[in-house]
Symmetry: C2
Subunit: 352 residues, 2 copies
């Protein structure tokens, strides 16, 4: 696509986009995506024009790059990378959006996006008293995933021993804090490296955190949870999931949120311990947060109250520049990020 | 233990038992168990004496021979092999049992057993109008496992596409017939060999049966269930479970009943497709039938009504002689049995 210009009032508007150039085998690299620049979209009848401010960088984006069956269709070659994000409405021919509204939804990796009936965006209430990065993290897919995964899929009950992998990550850190706030008997995290483990305990208030780099995880889990794990919130899959299954308590539940350890691999690790689900009468259940969309307001209200009440600590890792989105995605797999990874596309987009 | 004799009225009574001699590695063989003969037990206060008539040969017995954590303690070396069975009360110092009552419970692999408060047996109602082998099969652990596994753990709903492995087996054949009787959209079996597959379709009324010996199971399952499997009742684990996971429908359920393919192996097969539980929002849940003991009468009434109504076909494979119990157990793993395997210890024990 050759660059071209579109006049928006006095401003000449173009749209930079990151498109899928080639399906990655393993990690995303320079050949996976391409930055293209073209005409910005116009705002037709029944549409609203949104200037993208921030992108939410989630592991699931990597799964959409594969040509494999998933819960959403694969991203096509040449198509812009699918992603949630936030932006501000600059023009609107739809009653539900006013110019100046900050909205969240599937912005994709680009500078401008059009909302219409088929591609809805939610307006972020300005009365929240939270900045945009916090909203994108705690009230975005990350926070509501933690909330429904723990409480609904995992059927959390006060007194549970809760185990969380990816505990220093955006979702895992919230899972543990909700569990603590609601009366877990013990909350144990799993993370990679001593620094992250320290953060999980000191910053997020977990009772204990195991560094999976140290090995012998199943045995060490037994030490941390001698009576077994009532609820395991799994963000990683693979060997860590297997070690957790080996330590499941009677009637234990496993909420399968993601399998980040497997997304960059071409051969999946085999789980050897699923028969523990029989011995312990356990349940392992997967979920996709989109299934809970109608209940997001309930979760968002509870999470915002926790932030304001000081019982929910959170951390955002900001990466500046649309062109750095592929790099930011890779950070999720290398363990280089701390907290929720967000790409700032336009820093002027803020909640007033 | 040296043989010795005990006088019971005019009869000299001894007790033959099969004890665990050595923990098997892989299949049970001649060195695993030993037949011993000793004094028969006496009937003390608060006890009843039971003459064992029939043993239920279940795959789970093999798991109790391992020195590994399970839902019951491993059988100790030198201890009689744990097993359910049926017998007749010959003496009783307990009000709940009368001489002549036919009872079922953990008889273990022996000729005589004592019931007391800690080792209860259930009296089989004579009004059932069914013979003892049928009761041991359809109304025993086998039948109630099929019933609760399908309806409770699998949350069967009319219109479901149901897949059952071990479909020619005692449990699997009942699962499919209950599903058919309750309005499944389609019931597909998996069994080993053309003869068993024919039996599953012709005798048990499944819509289709796939022979797992033919390979490419995941692909053939897709052919049989193009819109996916709503409920998979798993008796086998391993590769067949993996193929079923690959074909799970949205919100599909997997009821994990057993993993017979893994019981004789020292290295467990790894499951590669558990992340399909995320993509399809699936649930995989294990169960142990003992957890439903308080509800057995409900299942037994429903199953007996199906037998009398002609909608539940069943088959028992009788092996004669206590000493052949180890051989009968091995049959479950080699696929040589058809239907429910029972060992006849004393053929005079019958429901009158």
């Amino acid at each position: 696509m050759a660059p071209s210009d579109v006049t928006e009032g006095e401003v000449t508007m173009s749209n930079r986009q990151i498109v899928l150039e080639r399906r990655p085998v393993g990690a995303v690299d320079a050949s996976t995506t391409r930055l293209v620049e073209g005409a910005g979209p116009t705002c037709g009848p029944g549409e609203a024009l949104i200037k993208v401010g921030m992108l939410s960088i989630d592991p699931t984006i990597r799964t959409w790059m594969n040509d494999a069956p998933g819960y959403l269709a694969p991203i096509g070659i040449g198509e812009v990378i699918r992603s949630s994000g936030a932006g501000v409405v600059t023009e609107s021919n739809l009653e539900r959006y006013r110019v100046g509204d900050v909205v969240v939804g599937l912005t994709n990796w680009q500078e401008w996006v059009v909302a219409d009936g088929a591609h809805p965006f939610q307006v972020v209430p300005t009365a929240l008293g939270l900045d945009l990065a916090t909203v994108m993290n705690v009230l975005g897919a990350t926070g509501v995933t933690a909330y429904f995964g723990l409480l609904e899929v995992g059927a959390f009950a006060s007194g549970d021993v809760v185990l969380v992998s990816g505990a220093a990550g955006a979702t895992g850190s919230v899972v543990g804090q909700i569990a603590k706030a609601r009366g877990a008997a013990k909350v144990v995290g799993i993370a990679g490296g001593a620094a992250k483990c320290a953060e999980v305990v000191e910053e997020y208030g977990f009772d204990e955190c195991l560094d999976y780099h140290e090995g012998h995880l199943a045995r060490r889990l037994h030490g941390a949870c001698p009576e077994g794990v009532d609820l395991y919130f799994d963000n990683v899959g693979g060997e860590i999931l297997d070690a957790a299954l080996a330590n499941l308590a009677l009637y234990g539940r496993v909420a399968l949120c993601g399998a980040i350890s497997q997304y960059n691999t071409t051969e999946r690790a085999g789980l050897a311990n699923t028969s523990m689900l029989i011995v312990r009468r356990g349940r392992m259940q997967g979920f996709i947060i989109l299934d809970y969309a109608s209940r997001f307001p309930e979760a968002q209200a509870a999470l915002a109250a926790m932030v304001h009440g000081g019982t929910l600590r959170h951390r955002e890792h900001l990466v500046h520049g649309l062109e750095r989105a592929p790099e930011a995605l890779n950070m999720l797999f290398g363990g280089a990020n701390h907290g929720k990874t967000l790409v700032v596309v336009d820093e002027t987009v803020q909640l007033s």
